[in-house]
Assembly symmetry: C2
Homo-oligomer: 422 residues x 2
Amino acid sequence: MALVVQKYGGSSVASAERIRRVAERIVETKRAGNDVVVVVSAMGDTTDELLDLAQQVCPSGPPAREMDMLLTSGERISNSLVAMAIHSLGEEARSFTGSQAGVITTGAHGNAKIIDVTPGRVRDALDRGSIVLVAGFQGVSQDSKDVTTLGRGGSDTTAVALAAALKADVCEIYTDVDGIFTADPRIVPDAQRLDTVSFEEMLEMAACGAKVLMLRCVEYARRYNVPVHVRSSYTTKPGTMVSGSMEDIPVEEAILTGVAHDRSEAKVTVVGLPDVPGYAAKVFRAVAETEINIDMVLQNISKVETGKTDITFTLPKTDVPAAVEKLTELQGEIGFTQILSDERIGKVSLVGAGMKSHPGVTATFCEALAEAGINIDLISTSEIRISVLVADDDLDDAVRAIHKAFDLGGDEEAVVHAGTGR
Amino acid sequence: MALVVQKYGGSSVASAERIRRVAERIVETKRAGNDVVVVVSAMGDTTDELLDLAQQVCPSGPPAREMDMLLTSGERISNSLVAMAIHSLGEEARSFTGSQAGVITTGAHGNAKIIDVTPGRVRDALDRGSIVLVAGFQGVSQDSKDVTTLGRGGSDTTAVALAAALKADVCEIYTDVDGIFTADPRIVPDAQRLDTVSFEEMLEMAACGAKVLMLRCVEYARRYNVPVHVRSSYTTKPGTMVSGSMEDIPVEEAILTGVAHDRSEAKVTVVGLPDVPGYAAKVFRAVAETEINIDMVLQNISKVETGKTDITFTLPKTDVPAAVEKLTELQGEIGFTQILSDERIGKVSLVGAGMKSHPGVTATFCEALAEAGINIDLISTSEIRISVLVADDDLDDAVRAIHKAFDLGGDEEAVVHAGTGR
C-alpha cells in the first residue's frame, strides 16, 4: 500500500460538477489500495472575489494579517466541499485547515515560508481509514499563531511539504496541462511532453518562467527528495515525473529538457556610472536593500574617453518603480548620469543536463535567433541553461526558433486549458 | 473605560457599503473610550450559497463535520472584512476564529453547546489597544479539536459567552429591528418598543417565538448576568436593555411585556389511548427517545363508555414525521387507535411579570379572543405567561386582539427591516 499525496488546482474545483469529478479520481486512488492525502486550492474565482471585497472595504490597502484570514477561507470552502463529494461516493473523508494539519510557517503574511510540518492529526485520520484533505496555500505562524498564506504556488508547496513530512511515495500535482512540455504548447504547437525531468532541470525551467510548477515547490521537493508527478486533472495521460538528480543521468542519455520563456521581467540600465571598483556594488546594494531580486546582469565595456560605463540588469516588472526610486535617491552618492527602464522585453531560455556534454549548444542557439532575425540584448548561462533577453514582440518567435533548432518537437498534440496560479 | 461586546447580524454586513457603516459604529465606540470586542455573523447570503454548493456536491446529505468546516468560512470572511474596514478608518483591528478566541464547545456538529470560553488571545489583543473581532456561530470541540457550529442564533450566544468570559460591561446585539417590541410590528403596527425587559420575561418571550433573541443566548445571559442591549444597526435609537431579575421589579411596577407568536409548531393527537395510568408516559417516552421537544400538552377527559382518552401535544413542524413514525412503531404496545397531525396551527402568548399581581389576566385574554371570533384549541400557562393554540389563519388576528385588550400599543412607529436568523 502506497501513501499518495494529490494536489488539485483552483480550476479543477471551479464548480460543483468539477468537484464531483475530482472526488471520483480521489476515491479511485483510495480504492486501488492507497492511503490518500489531498491538497485543494480555492475554487476558481473565489480568490478574486475576496480580493475585490477587500479592496472595497479598505481601499487604502488591507492589513496583511487580515488578508490572510480572508483568503484562507477559500481553501476551507473547496476542501470541505471535496470532502463532502467523497462522502457521497461512499468513502470517509476529513478536511483540515493548514493549521490543523500542522503546517507551521514564518510570520510573513502573504508570503510565509514553511518551517515545519507536524501532521499528527493527518496521520491519525489516515490510520482510521479516512481520506484526508488539507487546505493548501496556508499555515499557522510559529510565533503569533496567526493564520498565514504561502504566496503564489503555495498549494503545490503545501502538497510537497506534506508528502515529505508523511514520507509519501509520490506527490501528484494535478493541473490544467498534461505535464511538463519542451515549450509552452500555446506558443509551440508541436511541443512534446516529457516523461521525466530531474530536479535540477525542473528548477532551471521554473526559474526561467515555466509556470507548471513554482520554484519554491521544486526546491522543497529536491531538498526532501519527493518525487513529483505532474498530471492533467482532465485526462488519465501519464504526465511527467519530476524526480532524481541530474547527476544520476548517464551522460549519453542526458538531453535538452526544453525552452522556457518569461514575460514578467523588465530591464533597467544605469547610464554613465564611474568605471571604478565598487560602483557596481553600490548599485546592487541599493537594489538589494529594497528586497528586489535581480536576475540577469550586463556591464558594458567602459568608454575610454569618458571613464564611464553602463550597467543593465533585469528584475520583476512590478519592482521597477521601487528600484528606480531607490537608485534616484542615491544618484549623488553613486554618481551615474541617468536611469533608463524598459518593460518591453522577454527572456527565452534553453535548459537541459545534455548541454554539459554537447559543445556548440550556445552557437546553435545564437544562430537560430540570428536566422529568425531576432536581436539578442543580453546573455546569461549556467551549467545547464542558456538565457537571452530579446524584445517582447520577438519572444514567441524566439521560443519557436530555438525549439525547432534543437529538434525538441514531437507528434503528440498538446491540449491547452485555461488555468489559475494558486 | 468600559469593555463593550457588540454583535452584528448577517444583514448588517451584507455588502461592502454596510460593512463600512458597521466599522464606523465600532470605531466610534472605541474612540468614546471603550475596549471593544465585536462578533459578526456571515454576510447576508453567504450561508445560503454555501448550503447550496454542499447540496450539489453531496445530494445524499453532507457529513456534519464538513458542513461546519464549510459554513464557518462565512464568518471568517465577514470578520476579516470588518477588521479591514476598521483599519482603513485608522484603528487597529484583529480578527479571530472561534477556535482562536477560545470558544470551546461540545462535539455536536451543527448544534454544539459552548462549554467554556478561554479568551486569552482576545484579552492580549485588547491590552495592546486593538479592536477585536471574533467569528460568531463557531467554536472548537473540546475532544476532537474539530471546528463546530452552534446552530441558529449562535452568533448571539458567542457574543454573550464572550461578554461573560471577559466580564464585559454590556453585550450589544445589533439587529434589524429597533429593540424588543410588545408584539411583532409587522403584525401590530402600534407595537411599542420596551426600554427594559427582565431576563425571565425575555426567556418566556423567546421560548414563545419572539425572534429577536434566541432562547439559548438569553439563557446564557441570565446565567452569567450579562446585560444584553438590543439595538438597531441602522439607527441610533435607544433599543431595549435585557437585564436583571424579575424578582427585583417592584410589584407595583411590574407590567405586561408583550405578545409573542409562533408559527413553527404542529399539533399531534394520539386518539383512543387506554385511560390507565402509565399510558400517557409511554407516549411521551417514545417521543423523547427521538430527541423531540414537546411544548404544550392536553389530555381530554376520558369517555366513560369506552375507557379511552386522547392526548394532544405540540412539537416543531419539522419533527412531525419522526414522531409519527416512532409512535406508529409502538402502536401495539401503547394500544391507541389512531394518530392525527395538524400543521395549520399557531401559538399566541402573553408574557409579563405583572401577570402575577393582576388577577383576571386569563379571563381578559380569553374574552379578547372570543370577541374576535377566534377559537382556542389548547391553553397552557406559567407564572408569567399564558399561551393558547389557535388556527394558523387566526394567528395574526389573535396577536392584534390580545395586544389591544391589554392596551400594549404606543405612539412610536416601528421600523421593519428584512433579516436573517444566524
